[in-house]
Each structure stands twice: as C-alpha cells, then as structure tokens.
C-alpha cells in the first residue's frame, strides 16, 4: 500500500498506470491545482538538469594514476603486515609440536641438574642427630666415633667404639 507521498511522486514521474492512476486522479480534491504542481515539479527537474551538469574533472589521468598508487600502497601494506606477524593469531600444528617438544626437553635437562644437586635429606637428618649427640667423656673417656659414608649408595655407617653407655635418648623404645 503506497502512501500519499509515494503516489504523488509516482504520478509526477509518470510511474502510475491503469487503475492505480485512475484511482489517484479521482482522489485529487483539486485536479487543476495538482496539475499545476506537477508542471512545477517537472520544471524544477529540468532546471536542475540544466544547471547541475556533470562537472569535468581537472585531470582524469592523474586521478587514475593516484588511485593505482594507493592500490599498490594498500597491497604493499597488507604484505608487510602479514610478514610482521599481524596475520592469523594461531600457529600451525607443526610449529606447535616443535615448540612443545623443545619445552619438554628444556624442562627435562633442567630437572636432571636440579635433582642431582639436591641434598639427600635422609643422610643429613640422621648424621646431624648422631654428631650432635653428646658422648659423655666421664662415662666413656675412650669412646671414638668413625663415620663411613657412600653418597652413591645413599648409606652412612657410624662406627662407635669404646662407648660405655648410650645416651638416654638412644635407648631402645
């Protein structure tokens, strides 16, 4: 359903036909005034056509040349952006696999060296307890203590000789 404005415009431009045209013209309250308005609108159209001619460009060839340069710049810019890594943010699977394998290898080497240098807590715990145990020189004047240690086997042997009695904290429980 066309609005009044749409019908009016179509009527001026000769786009109404058949029943639609007859109905529209019959609906006009003042046919003479409408015809005068139509002539006025058509006169405006001719006037605009006459006084708004297509202006000539100053330099058509330069226009095309400038456009070609801009297109080339755009194409160059895209290539530079792609090579600078501004293209897709995701990595291909191959690259991801290589990066993952390298990370695992670095972690393994690092972990190996750290584990090797880690002090053996069992050894130090017992050794420090025994060395710190006081041997009473009055009770056991000839007591000697010798320590044998094998780090590779993680074994420490404490050889105690001339001990007359054990300190109370070493009594069997």
């Amino acid at each position: 359903m066309k609005t009044l404005e749409e019908k009016w415009t179509a009527w001026i431009d000769g786009e109404l036909a058949g029943d639609e045209l007859a109905q529209f013209e019959a609906s006009l309250p003042d046919r003479a005034a409408a015809e005068a308005e139509k002539r006025d609108a058509l006169k405006l159209g001719s006037f605009l056509k006459l006084h708004l001619p297509c202006p000539a460009m100053g330099n058509e060839e330069f226009f095309s040349h400038q456009l070609r340069e801009r297109m080339a710049e755009e194409a160059g810019g895209s290539r530079v952006r792609e090579s600078a890594g501004e293209g897709p943010a995701w990595w291909p699977i191959g690259r991801l696999a290589w990066v993952g394998a390298t990370a695992v290898a670095i972690f393994t080497v690092f972990a190996f060296f750290v584990m090797r240098e880690q002090p053996q807590t069992d050894q130090s715990q017992y050794l420090s307890q025994i060395l710190n145990a006081r041997v009473d020189p009055v009770v056991s004047p000839n007591a000697t203590i010798t320590m044998f240690e094998s780090k590779e086997d993680r074994v420490t042997v404490l050889w105690v000789d001339g001990l007359q009695s054990l300190p109370s904290e070493y009594a069997s429980k």
């Binding site: 404005e5 415009t9 202006p55 000539a56 226009f63 297109m71």
Partner: protein, 203 residues
C-alpha cells in the same frame, strides 16, 4: 548512461571486467575507473560542493570498491553497486562534517569546467563573461538550496534529476526500499520548489 571509455575498451563487457578484477587484474579495474570516474566525481561534487573533497571522496570510493569487489555478485549493474559505495562514503563524510560543523560550505575559488548536458562528453565552449557570472549565481543558489537538504535527500534528488536513475536503481544504490526513495523524493522536491521557485519560473 554515458561513459568515458575508448571504443576498444567499451567493447569489453562490464561483467567481464568485473570478473577480471575479482582475480586481481588491476588493468581491468583501471578500465572501470576510466568509465565511471567523471560521473562519480560529478555526483559527489554536486553533493559536497568542493572539488578537492569530491576528488578525495571519489578516490576513497574507488579504493573501497577495489577492496570489496570480491563480494560483488553481479545481481545489479556495476554502476549501481559503485554508486552505493559512493553514496555511503559521501553521506558518512557529510554527517561527520555536520557534526564537526567546520569547513567551507562552497568551493567558490574553483571554477569547474562544465560539460554540456546535451553532449555530456565534450566541454562546452566558454560563455560570455556576463553569462558565466549569471550561471555562477544560479549555481550558487542551487548549491545553497541543496545544502539545506539532508544527505539522503540530496542523494535521491541528484540521482533522479541529474543522473536519470530509475527508482529501483536509486533504491539499490542507497540500500533502501523504492517507497523510501519516492517519499524522500517528494520531500526533497517540495523543499527545492520552495527555495528555487523564483529562479526556475523566470528561466
């Protein structure tokens, strides 16, 4: 619809040129630009009234067309498609300019050579000084009247009255319905009739 293409270029169907463009053929695009640059420039000039701005906007429009030509499906003619880009670029620019509220409204310093509408390809011989002055005054009045229309109304009246485009072509170019085109045309004509009646009644 007039074009600027040489006879040899004019033989090449437009759709073939478009297909070559879609494969990255810049020479084919150059031919399309040659065909439409004057019309595009003229259309923009009549909307913005500045030669320099019209030049820049025509450049932007063609560049945008080149970038998006892959999306052209051939469902409309190329000139309707390029006009859609042109009107979008120009209307956006006019809106921004209205928001900023700056810049000169008219490019009085530039004297454009006009092409006789009858021939539309050969520049008209220079008019006598008083005729030229009179034409400039009329042109200034028309420009001032068009300036009072919204960008959308400007586009519709210029496409209809100076480009002889059909309703459906204007609708495609502006991305709106035919009813909207007719409605905008109604109000644009009314406004220009009120503003210019004394000029065209005495012409």
């Amino acid at each position: 619809m007039h074009t600027e293409a040489t006879p040899a270029q004019a033989d090449v169907p437009e759709l073939d040129l478009v297909k070559r463009c879609q494969k990255g053929d810049t020479a084919a695009f150059d031919e399309l630009v040659t065909r439409y640059r004057t019309r595009v420039f003229g259309m923009i000039y009549n909307m913005v009234h500045s030669e320099q701005d019209a030049w820049d906007l025509a450049q932007d429009s063609f560049l945008k067309a080149w970038k998006s030509i892959g999306r052209f499906r051939g469902q409309s003619s190329f000139y309707t498609w390029i006009y859609r880009i042109v009107t979008n670029v120009t209307i956006d620019w006019l809106r921004k300019k209205q928001v900023k509220g700056s810049g000169t409204e008219f490019d009085d310093a530039v004297q454009l050579k006009e092409i006789d509408p009858a021939s539309r390809t050969v520049p008209k011989a220079d008019a006598l000084p008083h005729q030229r002055m009179e034409r400039q005054e009329i042109r200034a009045r028309i420009d001032a009247a068009i300036q009072q229309l919204s960008p959308e109304h400007r586009a519709v009246i210029l496409m209809k009255e100076t480009e002889d485009m059909q309703y459906h072509e204007i609708a495609e170019a502006l991305g709106c319905s035919i009813g909207t085109v007719m409605s905008r045309l109604f109000y644009a004509r009314k406004k220009l009739q009120n503003l210019l009646r004394d000029l065209y009644e005495n012409a």
